[in-house]
Symmetry: C2
DNA sequence: TCAATAACTAAGCATGTGCTTAGTTTAAAT
DNA sequence: ATTTAAACTAAGCACATGCTTAGTTATTGA
């Protein structure tokens, strides 16, 4: 016995996510969200509670998009370590939007909020990072010669490398990024 | 025939720099700068023009501090590639402030402002990065077996790795960072 | 001694921030 | 057709933002 929403929450959150991805959390204002999402502030607060609520949903949306366009491919691959290397190259394409590189939303968020990030945001971040790392471990395990200890260390190494790629992609050119990726996988 | 300033610009800029380092550019307000620098807004604007002016001077101050506490040691060292590895470890200590890791101010800035960073800020950043990279090249050249091409690629690799370390130090523990550094220098 | 000049204080400006609320419109249940 | 409840509009709240300015204080050369 009531009116219907004139928007789909999933659709407007995707637009919010793109905005946060381009601008970061603090620099994205609710007025900007209003315009980008195409709905009034009232509707934003009715659907998502507050700005942080929009951001949390945006992180979930990012995870979904990354899974679809990036992570599923890694998961399916049977190419061992080469699959991870391909993931690095795919990530650069994934984070690029018409010549400008937005980096990884998760990495951007850690870098921006650091210790100040609240619990909800932090747990979204940690769960995402854990998923990726577990996949890296799975692919590394395809080489039976590697010990568990070696795999653990190499997975840590690759996770930090991936963060480096995210930041570096914002300021370095493709050649430098290629040099990085190639060298990264030289002794893995 | 006029009054003297009651503060030294270099001293108050160091405090501003610490604040920007901890909080980032956008999140640091002029009111916060006022308190931290211990001078009135009028004095801030009289000495540095605007908020961006304070930030530019802060970047220069950061470069000075990094040179003194970090880069000079690398420059002096005759230990070849090991000197660079030591630099990585030294950087973590340098960027740590009582258990929280602030990362590298330069990297933080690139990550926060990205393409939006204006010309003055960007040129400070590029000049800093170029200095460090040139030093890496110099140390890599101490091994006469390496070709110019190899050195170029390895320098690119190390620069991106260093950025990764900066971001990763904010969320990963010391063990993961150690794994990263050790693996990074395994194939150099 | 005193006029000149720069450094200070603190109040204030316009605009932006996250969020709320009074009032209206819409659609379904009766 | 009428009631009811949710979704909408748009105005507005209190406070934060970067920056300015009117008015005061201190230091200096004449």
């Amino acid at each position: 016995m009531a009116r219907k929403k004139e928007y789909l929450e999933d659709e407007v959150i995707e637009k919010a996510m793109e905005l946060f991805w381009r601008n970061g959390y603090e620099t994205t204002s609710v007025r900007m969200l209003e315009k980008e999402m195409g709905i009034n502030q009232f509707s934003i607060y009715a659907s998502f509670g507050n700005k942080k609520g929009v951001f949390i949903k945006s992180l979930a949306c990012y995870k979904g998009k990354a899974k679809l366009e990036l992570i599923n491919k890694l998961q399916k691959s049977t190419d061992g370590v080469n699959a991870i290397k391909q993931y690095f190259y795919d990530f650069i394409k994934f984070s690029k939007e018409s010549s400008i590189n937005k980096g990884c939303l998760i990495t951007n968020t850690v870098n921006e909020l650091g210790e100040k990030a609240d619990q909800e945001i932090m747990s979204e971040i940690v769960s995402f990072a854990t998923n990726v790392k577990d996949l890296f471990i799975e692919k590394l395990e395809s080489n039976p010669k590697k010990t568990t200890e070696t795999i653990r260390k190499q997975a840590n190494y690759l996770m930090v490398s991936l963060q480096g790629l995210s930041v570096a992609s914002k300021m370095f050119d493709q050649e430098q990024l290629d040099d990085f990726i190639e060298n990264t996988f030289k002794n893995i």
